[in-house]
């Protein structure tokens, strides 16, 4: 399968030169056409920073890409002039962010904000308006023509996220990037939004990358999953492989910590706390919290163990591949 987006060894530092810390280290993942890649990991693990840097949406300073490559449909993203990349991304990539209220500009009407994307691609004003209304209908906003002139604050959280999705879909993108699109929403609304995204992806065949920290959500929509810990992808593979036959002890601990359907069965905590970014050194970042860790883990960076399309970075992987 041809990768739509391919991130390879991305390295990002945060902070003023001199006092910078590494937030993301050797981040790699890719997503192919029609595929949904879900990135999971604890808060602060670098899921958002990695993805948004790849999209060149974070400003320098404080964020700086210090290594690695990002390829979109085969073109090198990071070396492209910013203007050109923005234009390309504007046409080819749709993005949905976590907090729809702040992601929409409070002083412009939602319709205008949807239409603006089309206008950026040279669609005439009238046509853009019509398309925007159509898009609003598509994402399930009742009374779209009337609500075109409404402002973001006049919508509920779920509706705002639909508007964001309408903006993302406006250009008929080949890649959809969603950073925790449902975290701020209620389960019933979350179900609506996930359903909407799923339907769109099925229909358009676009690739999708979604960031979430909810393994259950991941299991519902992912084709493949990448698990991020301390700025690295520690495990990646097909959804079922990763969630039901994890290689990495971290993945397995995460699964054990997640509540299950069984009544009265308490989740198991992962000991310790997530690593401090400034303290990252050699060796496996998860070692201090890992039940399988050996002396080796603290010293040597873990090797990549693979089982077909399923891979992990670990000295003591759970199921050693045949």
């Amino acid at each position: 399968m041809k990768p739509v987006l391919d991130i390879e060894g991305l390295r990002i530092e945060i902070g003023a030169p001199g006092g910078a810390v590494r937030a993301v280290d050797e981040l790699s993942y890719s997503v192919g056409e029609g595929e949904t890649l879900v990135i999971v990991g604890e808060s602060g693990s670098g899921k958002s920073v990695g993805l948004l840097s790849a999209m060149r949406l974070l400003s320098d300073p404080p964020f700086r890409v210090t290594g690695g490559s990002v390829r979109f449909n085969g073109r090198d993203v990071l070396s492209m002039p910013l203007r050109e990349w923005r234009r390309l991304a504007g046409e080819e990539i749709g993005m949905v962010f976590q907090d729809a209220l702040t992601s929409l500009n409070p002083v412009f009407t939602v319709g205008w904000q949807i239409a603006e994307r089309l206008r950026m691609q040279g669609v005439a004003r009238g046509a853009a308006t019509d398309r925007a209304i159509k898009l609003m209908q598509d994402v399930g906003i009742p009374d779209a023509a009337k609500r075109y002139r409404a402002f973001p604050h006049q919508f509920s959280g779920g509706m705002r996220q639909r508007i964001m999705i309408a903006i993302a879909l406006a250009s008929g993108p080949s890649l959809l990037v969603c950073d925790e699109p449902t975290t701020a929403l209620d389960v019933t609304i979350q179900a609506q939004i996930l359903e909407l995204l799923n339907r769109h992806q099925r229909e358009s065949g676009a690739a999708m990358i979604m960031v979430t920290h909810d393994l259950a959500v991941a299991s519902e929509i992912a084709d493949r999953i990448a698990v991020v810990y301390a700025g690295r992808v520690v495990e990646v593979g097909d959804m079922e492989d990763v969630l039901f036959r994890p290689l990495h002890p971290y993945t397995s601990a995460l699964l054990a910590a997640s509540p299950t359907e069984e009544e009265g069965r308490l989740p198991q905590a992962i000991p310790g706390t997530a690593p401090n970014l400034t303290g990252l050194g050699e060796g496996c970042a998860f070692a201090p919290r890992c039940s399988r860790a050996s002396e080796l883990c603290g010293r040597v960076s873990p090797p990549r163990v693979e089982n077909g399309t399923h891979a992990a970075l670990c000295h003591h992987a759970l199921e050693v591949p045949a």
Binding site: G157, G158, I189, A191, L215, A257, T260, E261, E263, P267
Partner: protein, 335 residues
Amino acid sequence: MNHANGDGMAPLLAARKLSKTFRIKERHGLKRFPVDIRAVEEVDLVVGRGEVLGIVGESGCGKTSLARTLLLLERASGGTIELGGRAVDPADRAQAAEYRRAVQMVFQDPYASVNPRMTVAEIVEEPLLLQRPELDRAARQRIVRERLEEVSLGEQYMGRRARGLSGGQLQRIGIARALAVDPSLLICDEPVSALDVSIQAQVLNLLADIRETRGLSMVFISHDLSVVRQVCDRVAVMYLGRIVETGPTGLVLRHPAHPYTQALVSSEPRLARKGAARERIILRGDPPGPSTKSEACVFQKRCWRSRQSCDRQPALETVEETHLAACHFPADSGR
């Protein structure tokens, strides 16, 4: 594990027709209108000794308002609260003080619920200072040390300030504080929703331990069904300020009778293999604003079963034994 009314004793805590209405002013351009937000509407609930009652519902349905009203942080607009069978008059200082010693709260946001300028010891000491004035400093320090121990924070934390601590640690401090005066009931308002899964598990385990060792009753508020499923004996489902369904956790979540509960349960994401297809009820639209006042069933607008008679708000009625639902057309119970 159901201790409710088991031995004929009065329940630990009961609320009867508890309501809380906020009056706010909405500005529309140059004009402002007073609007009534009916956050809690005629809620009846009972917590038995040693029992954990879960309250679930969507954001804004009134869970926190209910908790705050139960904690006397808000003055109820209607209804009564009973502790051990005796109605509590919040205006009576002595009664309120006694009630407050018995009922303590663990808050949702661990970062906001402790004063960033205070040391851990000061934070945990505060309820003692206010509620047990008879204790001297040494006695208080001893209790503080014990409680911190109980939430597995060592002595070395006592002098630290909140700003350097992680969310999980802070939430444990919040729990230690709530336990300081040996309450008989703990109200936990989404105690884990701000935490990462791994930390979430720590805190849930801690709460379970405490319940075990102390025989504590709890009101456990959450929007996360999977958490409720693991922690609670009974559950009450809230929608727009009302309890629409209540009963033993297993029963309610496995065989929901109210259409809203059904939708809620079916919307819950589950860790499942590909193709483990499940039937899913996707609700239309959003909940209406809490200020709308109407005679009709609160769920009518989003309900796929709604009919003529739904123009009236149904009362909570028995579906089966202790399983109640407020619906004109409840689904059959599982049994």
